[in-house]
Symmetry: C2
């Protein structure tokens, strides 16, 4: 028995990282073998909700852990049922948010790819010849149809931009590279709407990974690059490397731990392809020549390291790259409640960044 | 018995947060009472050293926890002996570092305040009329004399700047505001060496707190402000607010937990003054009009929240503020080994920031 499992609490009903490893077939090295190299033992604890954030954000941070974190459907039908249920819940809140933020939605088809155009009631003059392309999150499996437009709606409403949100194809029916292909189809078609330098790409979580993958793909295919991008808490490394997969395991109440439901969904997207392929794990891509990039994450985010490693790679490549780390927030805290002041602040920060770097 | 202490591991010889609270008289609310509001329970674990950093940084991250973290001297003489011992150890490595980085040191006295001028062998033309003021770390008690010049030496060597490191007075003999007074004396005197807009201020940990406090004091006293500042992992909140005091407790192998040795030393500096005084906890200060600021911290830093909260406050005040969060690093990892590539990279990043924002 190794040092790690010896120190696990025995309290009935508590989930431990040891149990997690057994359940989810994590590589043993992640939870035990490196004992001789290990930094301090970390005792069990209950984390209080921080007092340094808004009441709305306290509620998000204090939420019980995602009940689906280790519920893994076994058949395509079970996956579709789980996804449809989550989508129905997500969609319920959208009309009120669009109303409050004064954003209208229109379903469109762009060269055969489904998408939604989000248009704010007021588009300020400097944004009239600009367009943002949005790729939604959901671990490459969730967020179909309108349910994937929440972040795009906040970007449109708080930022005053027209946002074209791509309803890309997803597993179980359509694994890699369907999502990226759809996003690139829209990127190419969008050149007819606005010059590339006037366009930004935004997306978080899987959408953050896709945002980075789109720029890598555009470089590979010698397509024009966007004027700026805003990957939020990007799934930039599907291999499990990154220190916050350890330090924020069980601290992040959304993603919970590496190997949990989100990574199972991402593996379904990867469909057997090498997870180190930069189009799946963009942290391994060559970021030279990337457009100015604004990154967001939170101190409790399981993908804190995924985010800061991308930031450092961009800076090493000489790219203008701004990092924002939000107090107390787990994965994507800033796009979960449009009434939280932290949400408004973050989208306004992104909007200022786009305004500074996009053409007009 | 509360939920938190119920889940503590019973393994002999393990330090737990519950034991910590007893030992160090932490407010009970920090470790238990907020159970009803709490986010996920976090089980005990051993953290492996990340593979995503250099071998030198792996060694720093894998170091056993600071042996003095709960060794609290009981008399002024015991404090001085502990500080002198640490200083002697720190000084041993300095000649080799100055030699490797081609930096010379000269003891100077500025209007009665002791200081050290660090001068690199080559000062590039754009830096000839520039000067950086350095305020060292050490929880306001450690780092006297030459032992406090390590970070200043790296800044001079990697950045090509002349750096004037203030050997400010410290407790137990000289509590607040002695350190700040000394730093301000040097700041005022330095106006005769270079125009304020050509000068930057840099410091980490307590030195990061002092860097921010110096700008707040300069604003209060209507003195000229520096052209840019570089507070690293600043002790910006001595009150214990900030989520990473919880999430990175026992994860950071340098500061370990709120209420440990560093905070006892800071309390000795505060000397009974309200810890919310912005000159002690600058996160509570008005940051409007601050010069461009570059902040550094690490994903395992106990002061991750202290750092990102300052970043957000600066941004809310409309200040140019760049944040850099270093993969896997605990408190101040980038200034512990000048041979680590992460150290060179970080000081070069700071140097570029100063170059962009300082007058010439």
């Amino acid at each position: 028995m190794n040092k790690s499992s010896e120190s696990l609490p025995r309290h009935a009903g508590r989930t431990t990282l040891g149990a997690l490893a057994g359940l989810l077939l994590l590589p043993a090295s992640l939870v035990s073998a490196q004992g001789t190299l290990s930094a301090p033992d970390v005792p069990a604890r209950v984390l209080p909700v921080p007092t340094t954030v808004s009441p709305q954000m306290q509620k998000i941070i204090g939420n019980p852990i995602n009940p689906n974190w280790r519920v893994i459907p076994q058949t395509p039908e079970e996956w579709k049922a789980q996804v449809a249920k989550a989508a129905a819940t997500a969609e319920k809140g959208l009309p009120a948010m669009r109303n409050a933020l004064k954003v209208k939605i229109e379903a469109v088809t762009i060269d055969g790819v489904k998408a939604f155009m989000l248009t704010p009631e007021v588009v300020p003059p400097q944004n009239r010849n600009r367009l943002l392309i949005h790729v939604h999150g959901g671990c490459y499996v969730n967020g179909p149809g309108e349910s994937g437009t929440s972040e795009a709606t906040m970007m449109a409403g708080f930022g005053g931009f027209k946002v074209l949100s791509v309803d890309y194809r997803m597993p179980p029916d359509h694994p890699f590279p369907a999502a990226l292909d759809d996003a690139m189809t829209v990127w190419k078609a969008a050149q007819k709407i606005a010059p590339a330098r006037n366009m930004g790409i935004i997306g978080s979580s899987a959408g953050g990974g896709l945002t980075l993958a789109m720029v890598l793909k555009a470089k590979m295919d010698k397509l024009p690059l966007p004027g700026a991008i805003a990957p939020g808490t990007p799934m930039s490394d599907l291999t499990g490397a990154g220190d916050s997969f350890q330090t924020n395991a069980m601290v992040d109440n959304v993603l919970i731990a590496y190997g949990a439901s989100c990574d199972v969904r991402a593996a379904m997207y990867a469909n057997g392809r090498d997870l180190k392929d930069p189009l799946l794990s963009p942290v391994y891509g060559d970021m030279a020549g990337f457009p100015p990039t604004i990154l967001n994450t939170g101190t409790r985010d399981l993908l804190l390291s995924n985010t800061v490693r991308v930031h450092r790679n961009l800076r090493r490549a000489g790219v203008i790259a701004d990092l924002h780390v939000h107090e107390g927030q787990a994965h994507g805290g800033w796009y979960r409640d449009y009434t939280a002041p932290e949400s408004k602040e973050t989208f306004e920060e992104i909007a200022r960044f786009f305004d500074r770097h996009l053409g007009r």
